[in-house]
């Protein structure tokens, strides 16, 4: 198969994200994880394709559905799982939780909880790249539900006006909580929002992780050349409810099954299984993923909790201001 080595790498990461989250869901039901837990299962091809299209010096910003891109950018499973468990060894020291994964080392600037508010923030990182000429590109992910809110448009408006090196990736999983696309926006082809800002655009279905990578790369390179932002709408689907408390009664079983049949992870695996070499390699990767995820659970369980002195120490730099 083409690019067998990359295919295996991408396969491993997609499998890792899925298994990491399946185990996180289990830990949640055991009470080891609290608050909100929004799973990315079904959407893995986007984070992994994106991570393979970006350079290490590029930046990413996303929503509360943030485990996938964090792992794909290089956060360890241990740091991710420990964060979910609220442990001090977690990526945000157990202070952020599922919605607020941060990993400065891998230029992963969060995990954000307020719909749309992170788009201007991401545009700010892109602004800094342009200002300093560091050559970095920022990629910001947002949901279909965020396409209607003001901050999203202010972020795009400024990014387009100032030709900032940014790629807006709309992960259109067709629902915002229980609201289907048709009920939440008048024009359901959300890439058309780009037209209003004179931005380049693209739109496709996330069924093939290579396609995700290659099409995002086009947008990234455009940004890097100083030709301004692109809005890329990627159609996808979340297999689980919005969060752990959502039974997702607003969609039919058939609809979910139909999307699962076109699962990008299974598709990649089927391609790998077509040759005996890559099949054996994929099986070995499955085993290594299982070991990594099991270790992350063990690590998270065994890790210490953050202590109260961290609270003031992380509110301001230096002396606490009253």
């Amino acid at each position: 198969m083409k690019e067998a080595k990359t295919a295996l790498e991408m396969y491993r990461m997609m499998q890792l994200i899925r298994r990491f989250e399946e185990e996180a869901a289990r830990a949640y039901s055991l009470g080891k994880i609290g608050g909100f837990l929004h799973l990315y299962i079904g959407q893995e091809a986007i984070a992994v394709g994106a991570a393979h299209a970006l350079e290490a010096t590029d930046s990413v910003v996303t929503t509360y559905r943030d485990h996938g891109i964090a792992l794909a950018r290089g956060m360890t499973s241990n740091a991710g799982m420990a964060e979910l468990f609220g442990k001090v060894t977690g990526c945000s020291k157990g202070l952020g939780g599922s919605m607020h994964f941060f990993d400065k080392e891998h230029r992963m600037y969060g995990g954000h909880g307020i719909i749309g508010s992170h788009l201007p923030l991401a545009a700010g990182i892109a602004f800094a790249s342009k200002y300093t000429g560091d050559g970095g590109v920022t990629m910001v992910f947002y949901g279909d539900g965020a396409a209607s809110i003001g901050a999203t448009h202010e972020g795009m408006s400024l990014a387009a006006l100032w030709k900032l090196p940014i790629v807006f990736v709309c992960e259109n999983n067709q629902y915002s909580m229980g609201t289907s696309l048709e009920r939440s926006i008048s024009v359901t082809d959300m890439s058309t929002k780009a037209d209003a800002y004179g931005m380049a655009k693209d739109r496709f279905v996330a069924e093939d992780v290579f396609e995700v990578r290659d099409r995002l790369k086009v947008a990234i390179e455009r940004a890097r050349r100083g030709e301004g932002p692109t809005l890329v709408e990627i159609l996808t689907y979340r297999y689980r409810g919005h969060s752990m408390s959502d039974p997702a009664k607003y969609r039919t079983k058939e609809e979910v099954e139909d999307h699962k049949r076109r699962d990008a992870l299974n598709r990649l695996r089927a391609d790998l299984d077509a040759s005996t070499d890559t099949r054996a390699a994929a099986e070995a990767l499955d085993a290594s993923v299982e070991a990594e995820v099991a270790e992350s659970i063990r690590f998270a369980d065994a890790s210490p909790e953050p202590t109260a002195d961290l609270l003031e120490a992380t509110t301001y730099v230096g002396e606490f201001a009253r």
Binding site: G34, G35, F36, G86, K87, S92, G94, L95, G96, G97, M99, H100, H112, G113, I114, I115, G116, S117, G145, A146, S148, I149, G150, A151, S176, M177, G178, T179, R183, S184, I185, Y250, E305, P306, A308, L310, L311, E312, T314, T315, F320, R322
Partner: protein
């Protein structure tokens, strides 16, 4: 009397007012087909139809503004914020439109609107989802802000809010939704600006509202066992604020602790302390203490979160301090 949960009391108030007045409608995220993110509006779509129970996209500034616009021409909207945290992106609508239109128009316009939803901490939902927004809003003349602690007050005050000709911010609490209590039957309306004695006592006054009233009652029981008899005042209404009930109670106990969720800098507690020291200075035998959320963003870790949120033990310690049982 009928026993019901807080969420049912809120729902009943909405339903009764919608029956009574066709100008009343409910608008917000997931209020209709999903039956409410916290199931407050369960069954209302079926009962009132999609013209009056209206799902919105994620557009808080948009639908808050639409509500205000509809209100100045005579409709009586109930706008649900999925949680009050998200009102932050609509802050301008509340501050510059809802609160200002009456005076700015020389009194020509009224803004009969209710904004409602759960406020304050939930459980481990992190720093962006745990805000006590009342402290920002009570600052604003033109807004009324209420935060009932019981199902009865939830029902009676929401009915009053819907009938009010000024904008009312009605603060519920995720952790109160399942609390049960007796609610009077019939057209039960609780006027604003009147606090409630939740527990009578003579040694110290505990002043609170919303969820923290229940924490204060718990603290009062523990203190009773130690021989300190606390009076617990449930303010219910934060703006307008019932000064009379404060002065009366302090004239009896001569000591006070204000306990609520929200940061210690400014806010409702500071306002209460200011009013007491101005109106009942001579009655005080000790400085008034406040028990608040700690002065930091809310952490995710469960133990740290509980450490940051005010708890009964901190209320007890404060009462012991103002009654000079500890230093």
């Amino acid at each position: 009397m009928k026993s019901m949960r807080y969420r049912e009391a809120v729902r009943e108030a909405i339903a009764e007012e919608m029956e009574r007045d066709s100008r009343v409608f409910l608008m917000g995220e997931e209020v209709a087909q999903y039956q409410g993110a916290y199931k407050v509006s369960e069954g209302l779509l079926e009962r009132f139809g999609e013209k009056r129970i209206i799902d919105t996209p994620i557009t808080e500034a948009g639908f808050a503004g639409i509500g205000i616009g509809a209100a100045i021409v005579g409709l009586r909207p109930i706008i649900e914020f999925m949680t009050w945290n998200f009102s932050a992106v609509a802050f301008d609508q509340l501050l510059n439109n809802a609160a200002k239109l009456r005076q700015m128009s020389g009194g020509q316009l009224s803004v009969p609107i209710v904004f409602r939803g759960p406020n304050g901490s939930a459980r481990q939902v992190g720093s962006q989802h745990s805000h006590s927004m009342e402290h920002f809003y009570v600052h604003v003349p033109g807004l009324k802000v209420v935060a009932p602690a019981t199902p009865a007050d939830a029902k009676g005050m929401l009915k009053a809010a819907i009938r009010d000709d000024d904008p009312v911010l009605f603060l519920e609490s995720e952790t109160l939704y399942s609390v049960k209590g007796d609610v009077p039957e019939g057209d039960y309306v609780v006027p604003f600006g009147k606090g409630r004695i939740a527990r009578e006592g003579k040694d110290c006054t505990l002043i609170s509202y919303s969820r923290m009233v229940h924490v204060c009652l718990e603290a009062a029981e523990a203190l009773a066992a130690k021989g300190i008899d606390c009076e617990v005042i449930d303010l219910r209404s934060l703006r307008p604020l019932d000064e009379e009930i404060l002065v009366q109670s302090i004239s009896k106990t001569h000591r006070a602790v204000v306990a609520y969720e929200g940061w210690p800098y400014g806010g409702v507690g500071a306002e209460v302390v200011d009013r007491i020291q101005r109106l009942a200075f001579d009655e005080l035998d000790a400085p008034i203490l406040r028990v608040t959320t700690l002065d930091v963003p809310m952490p995710y870790n469960a133990k740290l979160e509980q450490h940051v949120i005010p708890q009964a033990d901190r209320v007890i310690a404060a009462v012991e301090a103002v009654t000079y049982r500890r230093d």
